[in-house]
Symmetry: C2
Subunit: 207 residues, 2 copies
Protein backbone atom coordinates (compact mmCIF):
# COMPACT_ATOMS: atom_id res chain seq x y z
CA UNK A 1 0.00 0.00 0.00
CA UNK A 2 1.49 3.35 -0.94
CA UNK A 3 1.68 5.84 1.88
CA UNK A 4 -0.15 9.12 1.50
CA UNK A 5 2.40 10.66 -0.89
CA UNK A 6 4.09 7.91 -2.84
CA UNK A 7 3.50 8.24 -6.55
CA UNK A 8 0.58 6.11 -7.62
CA UNK A 9 1.23 3.50 -10.25
CA UNK A 10 -0.90 5.71 -12.46
CA UNK A 11 1.39 8.66 -11.80
CA UNK A 12 4.50 6.61 -12.46
CA UNK A 13 3.16 5.28 -15.72
CA UNK A 14 1.98 8.69 -16.77
CA UNK A 15 5.51 9.98 -16.30
CA UNK A 16 6.78 7.10 -18.41
CA UNK A 17 4.29 8.08 -21.05
CA UNK A 18 5.52 11.68 -20.99
CA UNK A 19 9.11 10.53 -21.38
CA UNK A 20 8.18 8.21 -24.22
CA UNK A 21 6.37 11.08 -25.89
CA UNK A 22 9.40 13.30 -25.38
CA UNK A 23 11.63 10.79 -27.13
CA UNK A 24 9.20 10.34 -29.98
CA UNK A 25 8.64 14.05 -30.47
CA UNK A 26 12.36 14.75 -30.29
CA UNK A 27 13.02 12.21 -33.02
CA UNK A 28 10.19 12.89 -35.44
CA UNK A 29 8.83 16.28 -34.43
CA UNK A 30 5.34 16.67 -33.04
CA UNK A 31 3.46 16.24 -36.29
CA UNK A 32 5.75 13.51 -37.57
CA UNK A 33 5.38 11.48 -34.38
CA UNK A 34 2.57 8.97 -33.98
CA UNK A 35 0.74 7.88 -30.88
CA UNK A 36 1.51 4.34 -31.95
CA UNK A 37 5.22 5.13 -31.72
CA UNK A 38 4.86 6.54 -28.24
CA UNK A 39 2.91 3.51 -27.13
CA UNK A 40 5.48 1.15 -28.64
CA UNK A 41 8.20 2.78 -26.57
CA UNK A 42 6.17 2.03 -23.46
CA UNK A 43 5.34 -1.50 -24.53
CA UNK A 44 1.62 -0.87 -24.66
CA UNK A 45 -0.87 -0.56 -27.50
CA UNK A 46 -1.82 2.69 -29.19
CA UNK A 47 -5.31 2.93 -27.79
CA UNK A 48 -4.11 2.40 -24.23
CA UNK A 49 -2.21 5.64 -24.35
CA UNK A 50 -5.45 7.55 -23.99
CA UNK A 51 -5.74 6.28 -20.48
CA UNK A 52 -2.94 8.73 -19.68
CA UNK A 53 -3.55 11.54 -22.16
CA UNK A 54 -6.70 13.22 -23.34
CA UNK A 55 -5.04 14.00 -26.66
CA UNK A 56 -1.74 14.16 -28.49
CA UNK A 57 -1.70 17.89 -27.80
CA UNK A 58 -1.92 17.31 -24.10
CA UNK A 59 1.06 14.99 -24.39
CA UNK A 60 3.05 17.74 -26.06
CA UNK A 61 2.09 20.18 -23.39
CA UNK A 62 3.18 17.83 -20.63
CA UNK A 63 6.46 17.13 -22.37
CA UNK A 64 7.20 20.82 -22.64
CA UNK A 65 6.36 21.35 -19.01
CA UNK A 66 8.62 18.50 -17.99
CA UNK A 67 11.36 19.96 -20.17
CA UNK A 68 11.33 23.41 -18.71
CA UNK A 69 10.46 22.78 -15.08
CA UNK A 70 13.78 21.53 -13.72
CA UNK A 71 15.57 23.84 -16.04
CA UNK A 72 13.94 26.88 -14.43
CA UNK A 73 14.31 25.42 -10.97
CA UNK A 74 18.05 25.11 -11.37
CA UNK A 75 18.25 28.69 -12.53
CA UNK A 76 16.33 29.79 -9.44
CA UNK A 77 19.03 28.22 -7.33
CA UNK A 78 21.83 29.82 -9.30
CA UNK A 79 20.23 33.25 -9.22
CA UNK A 80 19.54 33.06 -5.51
CA UNK A 81 23.07 32.02 -4.61
CA UNK A 82 25.54 34.61 -3.41
CA UNK A 83 28.38 33.44 -5.59
CA UNK A 84 30.30 35.93 -7.71
CA UNK A 85 29.23 36.67 -11.24
CA UNK A 86 31.81 34.47 -12.92
CA UNK A 87 30.73 31.42 -10.96
CA UNK A 88 27.10 32.02 -11.75
CA UNK A 89 27.80 32.30 -15.44
CA UNK A 90 29.74 29.07 -15.31
CA UNK A 91 26.96 27.41 -13.36
CA UNK A 92 24.38 28.58 -15.86
CA UNK A 93 26.23 27.21 -18.84
CA UNK A 94 27.00 23.98 -17.02
CA UNK A 95 23.40 23.48 -16.03
CA UNK A 96 22.14 24.28 -19.48
CA UNK A 97 24.50 22.05 -21.44
CA UNK A 98 24.31 19.21 -18.95
CA UNK A 99 20.57 19.15 -19.41
CA UNK A 100 21.13 18.13 -22.99
CA UNK A 101 23.68 15.46 -22.22
CA UNK A 102 21.37 13.91 -19.67
CA UNK A 103 19.20 12.99 -22.63
CA UNK A 104 16.71 15.62 -21.64
CA UNK A 105 14.77 15.22 -24.83
CA UNK A 106 11.93 17.16 -23.27
CA UNK A 107 14.00 20.34 -23.28
CA UNK A 108 14.73 19.94 -26.96
CA UNK A 109 11.03 19.43 -27.60
CA UNK A 110 10.22 22.52 -25.59
CA UNK A 111 12.59 24.51 -27.76
CA UNK A 112 11.49 23.25 -31.13
CA UNK A 113 7.87 22.12 -30.85
CA UNK A 114 6.16 24.35 -28.34
CA UNK A 115 4.93 26.73 -30.98
CA UNK A 116 2.53 24.05 -32.20
CA UNK A 117 0.56 24.32 -28.98
CA UNK A 118 -2.58 26.38 -28.73
CA UNK A 119 -2.37 29.99 -27.60
CA UNK A 120 -3.60 29.22 -24.07
CA UNK A 121 -1.32 26.28 -23.54
CA UNK A 122 1.61 28.39 -24.57
CA UNK A 123 0.96 31.20 -22.11
CA UNK A 124 1.57 28.82 -19.22
CA UNK A 125 4.87 27.83 -20.73
CA UNK A 126 5.80 31.35 -21.62
CA UNK A 127 5.65 32.27 -17.98
CA UNK A 128 8.29 29.67 -17.23
CA UNK A 129 10.48 30.59 -20.17
CA UNK A 130 10.31 34.27 -19.34
CA UNK A 131 11.15 33.56 -15.76
CA UNK A 132 14.32 31.80 -16.84
CA UNK A 133 15.36 34.66 -19.03
CA UNK A 134 14.58 37.24 -16.39
CA UNK A 135 16.58 35.45 -13.74
CA UNK A 136 19.53 35.34 -16.08
CA UNK A 137 19.03 38.94 -17.06
CA UNK A 138 18.98 39.84 -13.36
CA UNK A 139 22.36 38.25 -12.92
CA UNK A 140 23.73 40.39 -15.71
CA UNK A 141 22.15 43.52 -14.31
CA UNK A 142 23.79 42.95 -10.97
CA UNK A 143 27.09 42.47 -12.72
CA UNK A 144 26.55 45.60 -14.75
CA UNK A 145 25.92 47.67 -11.64
CA UNK A 146 29.18 46.43 -10.23
CA UNK A 147 30.92 47.55 -13.40
CA UNK A 148 31.83 44.02 -14.37
CA UNK A 149 30.38 44.29 -17.86
CA UNK A 150 31.49 46.44 -20.71
CA UNK A 151 29.21 49.47 -20.80
CA UNK A 152 28.07 48.76 -24.35
CA UNK A 153 26.64 45.40 -23.33
CA UNK A 154 22.85 45.22 -23.08
CA UNK A 155 21.64 42.78 -20.43
CA UNK A 156 18.62 41.63 -22.40
CA UNK A 157 20.82 40.90 -25.37
CA UNK A 158 23.31 39.13 -23.15
CA UNK A 159 20.72 36.85 -21.58
CA UNK A 160 19.23 35.85 -24.92
CA UNK A 161 22.65 35.26 -26.37
CA UNK A 162 23.61 32.92 -23.57
CA UNK A 163 20.39 30.98 -24.01
CA UNK A 164 20.79 30.93 -27.78
CA UNK A 165 24.39 29.79 -27.72
CA UNK A 166 23.66 27.06 -25.19
CA UNK A 167 20.67 25.81 -27.15
CA UNK A 168 22.69 25.72 -30.33
CA UNK A 169 25.38 23.62 -28.69
CA UNK A 170 22.69 21.61 -26.97
CA UNK A 171 21.35 20.42 -30.31
CA UNK A 172 24.83 19.33 -31.30
CA UNK A 173 25.32 17.58 -27.98
CA UNK A 174 22.14 15.60 -28.42
CA UNK A 175 23.14 14.51 -31.92
CA UNK A 176 26.77 13.72 -31.19
CA UNK A 177 27.40 11.59 -28.11
CA UNK A 178 31.16 11.99 -28.59
CA UNK A 179 31.11 15.68 -27.74
CA UNK A 180 32.83 16.41 -24.45
CA UNK A 181 30.42 18.57 -22.51
CA UNK A 182 33.02 19.49 -19.92
CA UNK A 183 35.31 21.05 -22.53
CA UNK A 184 32.38 22.71 -24.18
CA UNK A 185 31.25 24.33 -20.96
CA UNK A 186 34.73 25.76 -20.55
CA UNK A 187 34.86 27.11 -24.05
CA UNK A 188 31.38 28.59 -24.01
CA UNK A 189 31.90 30.24 -20.67
CA UNK A 190 35.22 31.56 -21.85
CA UNK A 191 33.65 33.00 -24.98
CA UNK A 192 30.85 34.66 -23.05
CA UNK A 193 33.05 35.94 -20.29
CA UNK A 194 35.46 37.66 -22.62
CA UNK A 195 32.65 38.68 -24.89
CA UNK A 196 30.63 40.43 -22.26
CA UNK A 197 32.89 41.40 -19.42
CA UNK A 198 35.18 44.36 -18.99
CA UNK A 199 38.93 43.75 -19.12
CA UNK A 200 41.09 42.63 -16.20
CA UNK A 201 41.09 46.02 -14.56
CA UNK A 202 37.47 46.42 -13.42
CA UNK A 203 37.38 49.88 -15.07
CA UNK A 204 36.55 51.83 -11.95
CA UNK A 205 34.83 54.32 -14.17
CA UNK A 206 32.21 56.39 -12.41
CA UNK A 207 30.09 59.19 -14.06
Amino acid sequence: MPTSRDPTRYEQQRLEAIKAAAAEFAEHGFHGASTAGIARRMGIKQGSLYYYFKSKDEALFEVCMLGIRDYVRRMEVIAASDQPFESRLLATVTSHLSSYREKNEALKVYNTERLYLSEEERTDLKRQGSRYRQLLEGIFEEAAEMGLLRPSVDCHFAALSVIGLCNAWGELIVRDPELNVFDLVQQCTDLLQHGLCAGRQPTQHRG
Copy 2:
Protein backbone atom coordinates in the same frame (compact mmCIF):
# COMPACT_ATOMS: atom_id res chain seq x y z
CA MET B 1 9.73 33.90 -76.92
CA PRO B 2 12.39 33.50 -74.23
CA THR B 3 15.96 33.72 -75.46
CA SER B 4 18.19 30.72 -74.96
CA ARG B 5 18.71 31.30 -71.24
CA ASP B 6 15.73 33.13 -69.84
CA PRO B 7 13.93 31.18 -67.17
CA THR B 8 11.04 29.24 -68.64
CA ARG B 9 7.60 29.93 -67.27
CA TYR B 10 7.83 26.45 -65.84
CA GLU B 11 11.06 27.35 -64.06
CA GLN B 12 9.58 30.56 -62.72
CA GLN B 13 6.51 28.83 -61.41
CA ARG B 14 8.56 26.06 -59.93
CA LEU B 15 10.54 28.64 -58.00
CA GLU B 16 7.27 30.13 -56.77
CA ALA B 17 6.26 26.67 -55.64
CA ILE B 18 9.50 26.26 -53.74
CA LYS B 19 9.01 29.58 -52.00
CA ALA B 20 5.43 28.73 -51.13
CA ALA B 21 6.61 25.43 -49.71
CA ALA B 22 9.28 27.24 -47.72
CA ALA B 23 6.69 29.51 -46.14
CA GLU B 24 4.39 26.61 -45.37
CA PHE B 25 7.15 24.43 -43.91
CA ALA B 26 8.49 27.34 -41.88
CA GLU B 27 5.09 27.93 -40.34
CA HIS B 28 3.90 24.39 -39.68
CA GLY B 29 6.98 22.23 -39.93
CA PHE B 30 7.40 19.66 -42.66
CA HIS B 31 5.01 17.08 -41.30
CA GLY B 32 2.48 19.65 -40.12
CA ALA B 33 2.36 21.34 -43.50
CA SER B 34 -0.07 20.18 -46.17
CA THR B 35 0.33 20.20 -49.91
CA ALA B 36 -3.06 21.93 -50.03
CA GLY B 37 -1.59 24.78 -47.98
CA ILE B 38 1.34 25.16 -50.34
CA ALA B 39 -0.97 25.19 -53.34
CA ARG B 40 -3.24 27.77 -51.70
CA ARG B 41 -0.30 30.12 -51.28
CA MET B 42 0.34 29.86 -55.01
CA GLY B 43 -3.32 30.24 -55.93
CA ILE B 44 -3.55 26.81 -57.52
CA LYS B 45 -5.23 23.58 -56.47
CA GLN B 46 -3.60 20.83 -54.46
CA GLY B 47 -3.31 18.33 -57.28
CA SER B 48 -1.69 20.83 -59.60
CA LEU B 49 1.32 21.04 -57.34
CA TYR B 50 2.47 17.67 -58.59
CA TYR B 51 3.20 19.22 -61.91
CA TYR B 52 6.18 20.84 -60.19
CA PHE B 53 7.12 18.28 -57.56
CA LYS B 54 7.32 14.53 -57.65
CA SER B 55 6.55 14.39 -53.95
CA LYS B 56 6.37 16.43 -50.77
CA ASP B 57 9.84 15.19 -49.91
CA GLU B 58 11.24 16.59 -53.10
CA ALA B 59 9.69 19.93 -52.19
CA LEU B 60 11.49 19.87 -48.85
CA PHE B 61 14.76 19.04 -50.52
CA GLU B 62 14.41 21.91 -52.98
CA VAL B 63 13.51 24.32 -50.17
CA CYS B 64 16.60 23.34 -48.22
CA MET B 65 18.76 23.75 -51.29
CA LEU B 66 17.32 27.17 -51.95
CA GLY B 67 17.91 28.08 -48.32
CA ILE B 68 21.55 27.18 -48.20
CA ARG B 69 22.73 28.03 -51.70
CA ASP B 70 22.93 31.82 -51.50
CA TYR B 71 24.00 31.55 -47.94
CA VAL B 72 27.09 29.57 -48.91
CA ARG B 73 27.70 31.74 -51.95
CA ARG B 74 27.89 34.85 -49.82
CA MET B 75 30.33 33.17 -47.51
CA GLU B 76 32.50 32.24 -50.49
CA VAL B 77 32.74 35.92 -51.32
CA ILE B 78 33.56 36.91 -47.77
CA ALA B 79 36.19 34.23 -47.39
CA ALA B 80 37.83 35.09 -50.71
CA SER B 81 38.03 38.81 -49.98
CA ASP B 82 41.26 40.30 -48.71
CA GLN B 83 39.64 42.34 -45.97
CA PRO B 84 40.99 42.18 -42.44
CA PHE B 85 39.62 39.71 -39.97
CA GLU B 86 37.34 42.12 -38.15
CA SER B 87 35.60 43.15 -41.34
CA ARG B 88 35.07 39.59 -42.37
CA LEU B 89 33.53 38.70 -39.04
CA LEU B 90 31.21 41.67 -39.33
CA ALA B 91 30.33 40.70 -42.88
CA THR B 92 29.60 37.14 -41.83
CA VAL B 93 27.25 38.16 -39.06
CA THR B 94 25.59 40.76 -41.27
CA SER B 95 25.06 38.29 -44.07
CA HIS B 96 23.73 35.65 -41.73
CA LEU B 97 21.28 37.80 -39.81
CA SER B 98 20.13 39.69 -42.90
CA SER B 99 19.17 36.40 -44.47
CA TYR B 100 16.58 35.97 -41.79
CA ARG B 101 15.21 39.46 -42.06
CA GLU B 102 14.81 39.09 -45.80
CA LYS B 103 12.16 36.54 -44.92
CA ASN B 104 14.43 33.79 -46.03
CA GLU B 105 12.14 31.15 -44.70
CA ALA B 106 14.06 28.56 -46.65
CA LEU B 107 17.08 29.00 -44.41
CA LYS B 108 14.98 28.42 -41.33
CA VAL B 109 13.55 25.30 -42.93
CA TYR B 110 17.04 24.11 -43.77
CA ASN B 111 18.01 24.49 -40.14
CA THR B 112 15.02 22.83 -38.56
CA GLU B 113 13.56 20.37 -41.05
CA ARG B 114 16.42 18.97 -43.07
CA LEU B 115 16.82 15.98 -40.80
CA TYR B 116 13.51 14.62 -42.06
CA LEU B 117 15.06 14.04 -45.47
CA SER B 118 16.37 10.67 -46.54
CA GLU B 119 20.00 9.80 -45.98
CA GLU B 120 20.97 10.39 -49.63
CA GLU B 121 19.21 13.69 -49.93
CA ARG B 122 20.95 14.89 -46.84
CA THR B 123 24.46 14.11 -48.05
CA ASP B 124 24.06 16.64 -50.84
CA LEU B 125 23.04 19.27 -48.33
CA LYS B 126 25.71 18.28 -45.88
CA ARG B 127 28.34 19.13 -48.44
CA GLN B 128 27.01 22.66 -48.62
CA GLY B 129 26.66 23.06 -44.88
CA SER B 130 30.15 21.75 -44.25
CA ARG B 131 31.54 24.07 -46.87
CA TYR B 132 30.04 27.03 -45.04
CA ARG B 133 31.51 25.96 -41.75
CA GLN B 134 34.91 25.25 -43.27
CA LEU B 135 35.09 28.62 -44.94
CA LEU B 136 34.31 30.28 -41.66
CA GLU B 137 36.76 28.07 -39.85
CA GLY B 138 39.39 29.04 -42.39
CA ILE B 139 38.87 32.68 -41.59
CA PHE B 140 39.48 31.95 -37.95
CA GLU B 141 42.56 29.88 -38.70
CA GLU B 142 44.09 32.71 -40.65
CA ALA B 143 43.35 35.03 -37.79
CA ALA B 144 44.86 32.58 -35.32
CA GLU B 145 48.08 32.37 -37.32
CA MET B 146 48.34 36.12 -37.20
CA GLY B 147 47.94 35.98 -33.44
CA LEU B 148 44.65 37.80 -33.51
CA LEU B 149 42.83 35.18 -31.45
CA ARG B 150 43.36 34.23 -27.88
CA PRO B 151 45.47 31.06 -27.86
CA SER B 152 42.85 29.08 -25.95
CA VAL B 153 40.29 29.59 -28.70
CA ASP B 154 39.61 26.58 -30.89
CA CYS B 155 38.69 27.50 -34.48
CA HIS B 156 36.19 24.70 -34.90
CA PHE B 157 34.43 25.74 -31.75
CA ALA B 158 34.54 29.37 -32.85
CA ALA B 159 32.96 28.68 -36.21
CA LEU B 160 30.15 26.58 -34.78
CA SER B 161 29.51 29.17 -32.10
CA VAL B 162 29.14 31.94 -34.64
CA ILE B 163 26.72 29.84 -36.65
CA GLY B 164 24.81 28.82 -33.54
CA LEU B 165 24.53 32.32 -32.17
CA CYS B 166 23.41 33.71 -35.50
CA ASN B 167 20.83 30.99 -35.99
CA ALA B 168 19.45 31.55 -32.51
CA TRP B 169 19.02 35.26 -33.17
CA GLY B 170 17.73 34.43 -36.62
CA GLU B 171 14.79 32.55 -35.15
CA LEU B 172 13.98 35.54 -32.99
CA ILE B 173 14.30 37.89 -35.95
CA VAL B 174 11.86 35.83 -37.98
CA ARG B 175 9.33 35.80 -35.16
CA ASP B 176 9.66 39.43 -34.13
CA PRO B 177 9.55 41.95 -36.98
CA GLU B 178 10.31 44.77 -34.54
CA LEU B 179 13.83 43.58 -33.88
CA ASN B 180 16.43 45.93 -35.27
CA VAL B 181 18.83 43.77 -37.23
CA PHE B 182 21.38 46.53 -37.57
CA ASP B 183 21.75 46.88 -33.81
CA LEU B 184 21.80 43.16 -33.42
CA VAL B 185 24.60 42.74 -35.90
CA GLN B 186 26.63 45.24 -33.92
CA GLN B 187 25.99 43.53 -30.63
CA CYS B 188 26.64 40.02 -31.90
CA THR B 189 29.83 41.04 -33.62
CA ASP B 190 30.93 42.87 -30.53
CA LEU B 191 30.26 39.83 -28.38
CA LEU B 192 32.15 37.53 -30.71
CA GLN B 193 35.02 39.88 -31.26
CA HIS B 194 35.70 40.37 -27.58
CA GLY B 195 34.89 36.76 -26.88
CA LEU B 196 37.38 35.33 -29.32
CA CYS B 197 40.04 37.89 -30.00
CA ALA B 198 43.16 38.80 -28.11
CA GLY B 199 43.34 42.17 -26.38
CA ARG B 200 44.16 45.50 -28.03
CA GLN B 201 47.86 44.77 -28.35
CA PRO B 202 48.02 42.20 -31.19
CA THR B 203 50.36 40.02 -29.10
CA GLN B 204 53.19 39.86 -31.63
CA HIS B 205 54.03 36.43 -30.30
CA ARG B 206 56.08 34.28 -32.65
CA GLY B 207 57.25 30.66 -31.91
